[in-house]
Symmetry: C2
Subunit: 561 residues, 2 copies
Amino acid sequence: MKIVIVGGVAGGASAAARARRLAEDAEIVLVERGPDVSFANCGLPYYVGGVIASRAKLLVTTPQRLRERFAIDVRTRANVEAIDRVAARVRIRDLDSGRTSDESYDRLILAPGAAALVPPIPGVDHAAVLTLRNLADVDRIKAAVDDAAARGPTSPPRVVVVGAGFIGLELAENLVHRGVETTVVELQDQVLPPLDREMTTPIVATLRAHGVSLRLGDSAAGFTPAPHGAGVTVRLASGGELAADLVILGVGVRPENRLAVEAGLDVGPRGGIRVDDRMQTSDPLIYAVGDAVEIRDVVGGGPTQVPLAGPANRQGRIAATAILRPEALPPVRYRGTQGTAIVGVFDRVAACTGAAEKTLRRMGRDFRKVYVHPAHHAGYYPGAEPMSLKILFDPRDGRILGAQGVGGAGVDKRIDVVAVATQAGMTVFDLEELELCYAPQFGSAKDPVNMAGFVAGGLLRGEHPQADMETVLDGAPDGQTVLLDVRTADEFAAGHIPGAVNIPVDELRGRRGELPRGGRILAYCQVGQRGYLATRILLQSGFDVANLGGGYTTYRLFRPG
Amino acid sequence: MKIVIVGGVAGGASAAARARRLAEDAEIVLVERGPDVSFANCGLPYYVGGVIASRAKLLVTTPQRLRERFAIDVRTRANVEAIDRVAARVRIRDLDSGRTSDESYDRLILAPGAAALVPPIPGVDHAAVLTLRNLADVDRIKAAVDDAAARGPTSPPRVVVVGAGFIGLELAENLVHRGVETTVVELQDQVLPPLDREMTTPIVATLRAHGVSLRLGDSAAGFTPAPHGAGVTVRLASGGELAADLVILGVGVRPENRLAVEAGLDVGPRGGIRVDDRMQTSDPLIYAVGDAVEIRDVVGGGPTQVPLAGPANRQGRIAATAILRPEALPPVRYRGTQGTAIVGVFDRVAACTGAAEKTLRRMGRDFRKVYVHPAHHAGYYPGAEPMSLKILFDPRDGRILGAQGVGGAGVDKRIDVVAVATQAGMTVFDLEELELCYAPQFGSAKDPVNMAGFVAGGLLRGEHPQADMETVLDGAPDGQTVLLDVRTADEFAAGHIPGAVNIPVDELRGRRGELPRGGRILAYCQVGQRGYLATRILLQSGFDVANLGGGYTTYRLFRPG
């Protein structure tokens, strides 16, 4: 069996190593256009910032290692120019000598990755406008920042990052660490577009607190050479201008599908190479893995593309297994993605799994949601940090559809816990009963995920009517509705939803006569717990009442003020 | 509906609050023997150590709060002396006035908790021999440590902790923080008896590194008053003697079942009050929750008792729901425990969920196991800490039976992830495909849990024969077996399994002729990965070979040297 693999980073390198483990006698040729294989793509921003000090650290493995340990015929600086499916061979150009050669294959694995999207903006080919996808990119960016920094502290480097996605924000943080005056321009009116907007509020706050200038709902309309020096002037769609030593585009990626398209393989509408759950393309001899493929969104059910290292690695493993050990039992299959992702931005963390609310709305899918705002461990133990968790679920059976978390320590753990529950097809009722680690420095007797389960489970069991915060973002929806703040007078004085009246929950039983009969009452507290009790008290007194989910803390995510 | 609740800490307080939320018109009487309700039991060791500085922090809620917010008739310093099941009433003694009164109930919830086990050792009633279960205990311990510490640094306090369970080790750490000369005596030949012995090796190492004197496989045989001063001399079963200002017994708890037994309720062989999955006892009017009840071990299937706050809180919630909202859909049921637990000991963390290997052996249950030793996040990002994960699973279908982890940061997350997978009935094949959060400071593209899944899945699919490390703990099992170390010569020189020969994996293809045909080869590397590749190479060359699971790192857990 001779396997040719196109691309040697995450998916390609994983496929190569796995193929060798499965078959000592296989001939494995790995063709990589760049000079390196398997570098730490996700570490690039941290190398810019100096968090990762040594460039060598970014090389997860080397061509030499793959040759010596895995007996793989590694060819770097070599480009596969064409696939001849009839003859089952590829044409390879050696980028140094310029010579081409043909290589036959029994099976071909395409792992070409994705390229940075470069939007057709006037001036985008200016030398100071870069993207960040590989080590060559990061070397250029680091050199440019180093050069600009050499001007001294009186004239700090200025960098504009276009795109406030995961990599854009990681870059922004690392540029700030380097003393760079950093501006982030984002077309959408939020950062981290995969998350729902309100869940990104704490990330916006920390970016601003650390001096990042954010231009949301704006975009780069053109780049012109700076009047003097090597920089560039960024013209914004809103009309403003930004002077920059460097612009880094982080607006997404597009699958490197040229080879596949030219070979006539099936490709999806967004350009991803189509594969089945064994990563086989429309040609049974050709497999494809990683950022270039279209995969199934397990929550939404439709096709999607996720340029993430975890799925790429698993897909590489699966393709090699499908080729060399098709009889494996249980079968090794790619199950699709649920889009689990995380980002650290200064002292904050945002993470998500499954579908976002906006995605569910776009799909027209019925859902309910809850917010909880617990501490990441027992409040009586020093150092507890607050987090906000949002869980989306199916109102018919409670099945988890998605989750998002934002906060500091412990957010990664809770999203991982919900990610497993989602993958297992669990419901919010299952979240109530999860038995998780508890000691005061690690969690709470009622873990944040349990708490979210209690709220969602109670909601579906009809124990407490809940209204979404959207109802009252601009005050009470009508004259018949009373907005009831059940926190203490001090909390109320420090800030409340406009138009609310204040009756602390501890006084509510005695003062419920003050509330009008006939109208609707929307109760809230700080995080939802006292509002829940107030709702139960009033409900049992015959009022038409609902709890505003997640309380004033949720309100402040929508209206940071 | 009138509900009387006996005991106001975790399960009792949860039941009371939940009952009020469900029924404004219920009469709820909470009777607590002590002066406090709902204190932070799990925080007590950290209050001794000064990590939690304020005693008030330990009071999760107060009688006043339960009265004002939840309209609960709270009676502290009141002891329920007897249950009259025929008349459906309890007799309550006010511990201050000494007066008794009767209280009728429609439903009774028993949440009496568990008492510290005080073994019948001669001298155990000495004033310097204490237990740690409540605030009165912690006050006594703290005062004794404070007194002894006041003697000044030339004569540090000496404390003997009997029992190296979770609380014993938390206490030991906190005593060291206070400058106490701490000795821990444990009957078993390991610390943390719920874990398998080899997984506790790093905990033993950190205890010793921090100056804790460990006496494993030993026990206290008697306590005699110190020749002078207020201390005590601990006579050990091994014959030695330890001088101590204070002895703290942490040898376990026994269910406070006196009331239940005297009332004729069903009680299990280990004293736990028997309940069904709605927490109902053998008397339909009486429920029981928390440390005093016998519950189902979901992995083993048999009855068990877990004195943990998480289960107690959930059980309290479930009992109140079963009483006041029996029609709730889906039903609210206690599913049993899987024994998820965690402990921090200085800079190390140990955690577990499901069954331990020794438990499976005791049950005669068939199992397989794997060890992995990954870093808690990407190795190229600074600060990666190593951990060891052990996963136990059913060899027939791969179903997860249990997991243990030891290391530093990130152990809690991985055990929580496996805990959810276990609860969902997932297999090791599912662990391979978990989609977890990955950015370099939070995890790896192949998360530690994925890695464990890959190893276990490959093992069950027959891809790589694995031998357990127990086979070679005393060198090669026989003259026919070759112990093959495939690490580098430098690694080999720094330490290897006695009797091993060294052929680095990168040279193995060329040197396999050096290996004898006919015998058996047991290959190993540092953590198992190169050993896996070596096994695959040799297997495909016709050798009888197996990989020693988890490599030399696993060996060192068994033989710390």
